[in-house]
Subunit: 185 residues, 2 copies
DNA sequence: GACATGTATATGTGCCGTCATATATAGTCG
DNA sequence: CGACTATATATGACGGCACATATACATGTC
């Protein structure tokens, strides 16, 4: 569902080919959304069928021709409807919490290992995200940041906050199940 | 993928029918995992094929017969492998962040409305979760809580923390884009 | 008496996503 | 020279998941 709307979102910024879109997804929303290449092309075909997008072939020399997709008026209306509309109820699925829910049968050391590995993964993710944020921060330093840019930064901030929360939670849980031994009073 | 493992998790606690499993999903992990009824039956069939689960029909009078599923030794090994194994790289997909990413084209009031509605939704979710936690807290008050129970509470705590984080983030963003007017000095 | 709800299992259909693969050319690296 | 990467689009196969629907009986409600 959302994939088509995401594509409309990108096409509202500028006309793009499927190839462009794949790069745009990976480079700009990659930290919270992944899109499969094959699926992008199929979604584009569907958007054209629905009249939300128009295509024209741009011939190129030395490289394959591009199929440039441009959003239509109907497509813009559809996009705005999605943007302002209610959130489609997304099915929550947290595989890691599922593991924790059933991890009572594990040996304590195995459980600790699972949690420690999780913290490591999340720490690495946090570094990636703060790295991205720092990079953008330096790039934009001084200038006044407009609303669209501010919103893009906000999506990054969201990831950073949730990653920090996840690390804090896992650390707290680790301490709970494996209290650091204390000298008796 | 995870659905079969989640089912193995439940069956490691006690033998269950598909109907039991559906209720177990909705009642105990419903706040972070949803499972479709049809999919549960298909997953069970597959688990039986793979030798991870055994079935026997329990005849009942006055109500339909139950097909009781019991985890096998191979199933337990599979479960433990999943529990201790590396997290399968789950594709991140945050539809709301996608909206925010493209929401720069909205009129400021529409954007504020989207964010405000989101905060409301998350606040309601927070109330649900804290309600659940309080209920469990009262139920377990005084007794000593064993590890499996502690882990189940931890999954709830995870949801509460992330929901709080989401609310804080959205509130901060709202203030950023709509600074409360201040009297001039 | 009709209708809804609970118990219980199962199939059909269609969408979406992932992975593999095909095709064609230009440039780069060892 | 051969292998790999980048540019660019497209299809086939397969699996998971959601939603609708079917069946059957008991009990509770208006």
């Amino acid at each position: 569902m959302s994939l088509r709307h995401a594509i409309l979102g990108f096409l509202s910024l500028r006309p793009m080919s499927g190839y462009d879109l794949k790069k745009a997804f990976d480079e700009s929303v990659g930290h919270f959304w992944t899109a499969d290449q094959a699926q992008i092309y199929r979604a584009l075909a569907r958007l054209v069928d629905d009249g939300h997008v128009e295509v024209r072939t741009v011939e190129q020399t030395g490289r394959p021709d591009r199929r440039e997709h441009r959003i239509t008026e109907a497509g813009l209306r559809e996009l705005d409807g999605w943007l302002t509309g209610a959130a489609e109820p997304r099915p929550m699925r947290e595989p890691f919490l599922l593991k924790i829910f059933f991890a009572g049968r594990l040996a304590p050391d195995d459980l600790k290992a699972v949690l420690t590995r999780h913290v490591d993964t999340e720490r690495r993710r946090l570094e990636t995200l703060t790295g991205l944020a720092d990079g953008l921060g330096r790039l934009l330093a001084g200038r006044d940041i407009d609303l669209p840019q501010r919103l893009r930064l906000a999506t990054l901030d969201n990831g950073i906050r949730h990653t920090r929360t996840e690390i804090e939670w896992a650390d707290a849980l680790l301490e709970q199940i494996d209290p650091p031994s204390r000298p008796d009073r």
